[in-house]
């Protein structure tokens, strides 16, 4: 596989300049994720409003280009969505990475679809799957109010 498919400009851009980075104000849900193999850490913060909508979402942490880009793209796509939709999206993300299943276009805007699908190539690098999925697992933990940090070695 061509490496430029994995390291697309979009991924490199989000890897270098992550969006929604830092602790967001008024976060009422958060969770931590950890990859003990490489020492990567992520902390996802989100604000779920009274209508169960993700009003705000952000993340902190360090990791490789894939992991940072995946976190950054995730926050952009999930922001403003309902909790239910966020859960549908994270399942779709795991299906895309692990089973190569494309996401239903109707679920996202064109821009969101491009961003979401830019990470599909990671599935062809089995050793890097955990880099891409850690933030999405951590998002689920935040929605579930899971206090125990997510350990990528146990989950994937």
């Amino acid at each position: 596989m061509d490496l430029t498919e994995l390291y697309q400009d979009l991924i490199l851009d989000h890897g270098k300049k992550p969006r929604n980075f830092g602790k967001c104000n008024s976060a009422n849900h958060d969770a931590k994720g950890h990859n003990p193999l490489c020492g990567d850490n992520i902390h996802v913060y989100l604000n779920l409003d009274n209508n169960n909508k993700v009003k705000d979402i952000s993340f902190e942490g360090s990791g490789c280009a894939i992991s940072v880009a995946s976190s950054s793209i995730m926050t952009e796509i999930v922001k403003g969505k309902s909790e239910k939709k966020a859960r549908v999206l994270l399942e779709a993300f795991f299906k895309m990475i692990k089973e190569g299943q494309e996401i239903n276009k109707a679920d996202l805007t064109e821009d969101e679809h491009i961003k979401f699908s830019s990470l599909a190539g990671v599935g062809r690098f089995p050793m890097r799957v955990k880099c891409a999925t850690l933030s999405w697992h951590t998002l689920r933990a935040a929605l579930d109010n899971e206090k125990k940090p997510i350990n990528s070695e146990i989950i994937d």
Binding site: L3, L12, C38, G39, S62, G63, C64, A65, F125
Partner: protein, 400 residues
């Protein structure tokens, strides 16, 4: 046999023609002779050792003990014994666990900031006995600050355990000096020799440490076998580490007496084929002569560091003056795992991450790094391929 055509002795390079294996510090590839001995043992000579009284069992037991003698000779462990374990990690766990009976609240253990987790975690367990662990600091070059040792040793220091060669920076610890200092104060010393044997001259009679731990799979032998050199006096002073078959003398309903010597520490069925094949690995190294191996690997390390220094954005993790056969680096702005994925496309195998040395990485203010470690089969062409791949990586990540 010479180092020139050495790659041909390793089957892995026949089935993976493009492989550039730069991860020997993680685990060494196996020469055909080692694989053949294991194969022959399982096919033609296998039985458990130290149990049966039939001929086959006798032959297997003798082969196993021959291997012990060969290893003892290889590291000149004349005033002690060789115990077979699972790996270096288990060897150090054995020492820490068995030594703990001599420790009480407030006692001190001295380690260094360069320790692999295998020479820290087993000692950390002893903190539950309210024992304190102190660390000899490392400087920015990754070298142990030997001047700090005297002030760190107190009357409460009960044991010193130090890495021989750092698995991150390649720095050779001044173990001879440390052992000399410790001896004056009658403190036993354990050396984690995992990266030492097969890359440096290890003469345990000269070193005169109490314990020296190393692993078969890092010295071109099979995985699943660890080694622990233990000075004879500890054999009797230590209680057994694991209990079971093979380590007893007599068992009745109320009392058990233990086997004497090394048998006391080898409970249960041991990996006999692996131990027997390890002798062949030692023989293989002996034939090449350790001094030739050291020269070959140090030349390669110097060549690699020189070539990588010429590439912008390459940042080394420590620059110790006493280098061994490995070093670590980062490409500024690119995570080590991304670099490793790019290398992998060029069939280059390196270790990326913290290499089980989080303390050292934290001290250097980094999370992870890429490690290049050489074995006898590497050559300058491998280094040139690595340099090309680094340039490719920089281009991909737009770092030019």
């Amino acid at each position: 046999m010479s180092l020139k055509d050495i790659k041909s002795k390793f089957p892995i390079f026949k089935s993976n023609k493009k492989l550039v294996y730069l991860d020997t510090a993680n685990s060494a590839q196996k020469p055909k002779v080692v694989v053949d001995v294991m194969d022959d043992f399982y096919r033609n000579k296998y039985s458990n050792i130290g149990r049966g009284v039939y001929s086959l069992a006798g032959i297997a037991t003798e082969a196993y003990e021959q291997s012990r003698r060969a290893i003892k000779e290889f590291v000149n462990g004349s005033e002690g014994e060789i115990i077979f374990t699972k790996n270096s990690t288990e060897s150090i766990n054995l020492v820490a666990t068995c030594f703990s009976k001599f420790l009480k609240e407030g006692d001190e253990i001295l380690l260094s900031e360069a320790e692999h987790h295998s020479n820290y975690v087993p000692w950390h367990f002893l903190r539950k006995k309210k024992v304190n662990i102190k660390f000899i600091p490392i400087n920015n070059d990754g070298e142990l600050d030997i001047n700090k040792i005297n002030s760190l040793i107190t009357k409460k220091t009960k044991i010193i355990s130090i890495i021989h060669i750092s698995n991150v920076t390649g720095h050779t610890s001044p173990i001879k000096k440390i052992i000399e200092i410790a001896k004056l104060k009658k403190i036993p010393v354990c050396i984690d020799g995992t990266q030492g044997v097969a890359h440096a001259n290890v003469n345990l009679k000269e070193l005169d440490c109490d314990f020296y731990a190393f692993s078969s799979h890092k010295i071109y032998g099979p995985a699943g076998v660890g080694l622990l050199f233990m000075k004879s006096k500890w054999l009797d002073q230590f209680d057994p580490f694991l209990g079971g078959g093979g380590m007893i003398q007599n068992v009745d309903l109320k009392n058990i007496t233990y086997a004497s010597g090394v048998s006391k520490f080898e409970a249960g069925t041991m990996p006999s084929a692996e131990v027997v094949a390890l002798k062949e690995a030692v023989h293989f190294i002996d034939q090449l002569k350790i001094k030739n191996i050291i020269t070959h690997e140090q030349n390669l390390t110097n060549y690699a560091i020189d070539k990588l220094s010429q590439i912008n954005d390459v940042e080394f993790v420590g620059t110790p003056s006493s280098k061994s056969s490995l070093f670590s680096f980062n490409i500024k702005g690119i995570h080590s795992h991304d670099v490793s994925t790019v290398f992998d496309q060029d069939h280059i195998a390196v270790r990326a991450g913290h290499h089980c040395c989080q303390i050292l990485h934290k001290k250097m203010n980094i999370v992870s790094s890429i490690r290049v470690s050489f074995g006898i089969y590497n050559n300058k062409q491998d280094v040139d391929t690595l340099c090309e791949s680094i340039k490719k990586c920089k281009k991909l990540f737009k770092l030019n």
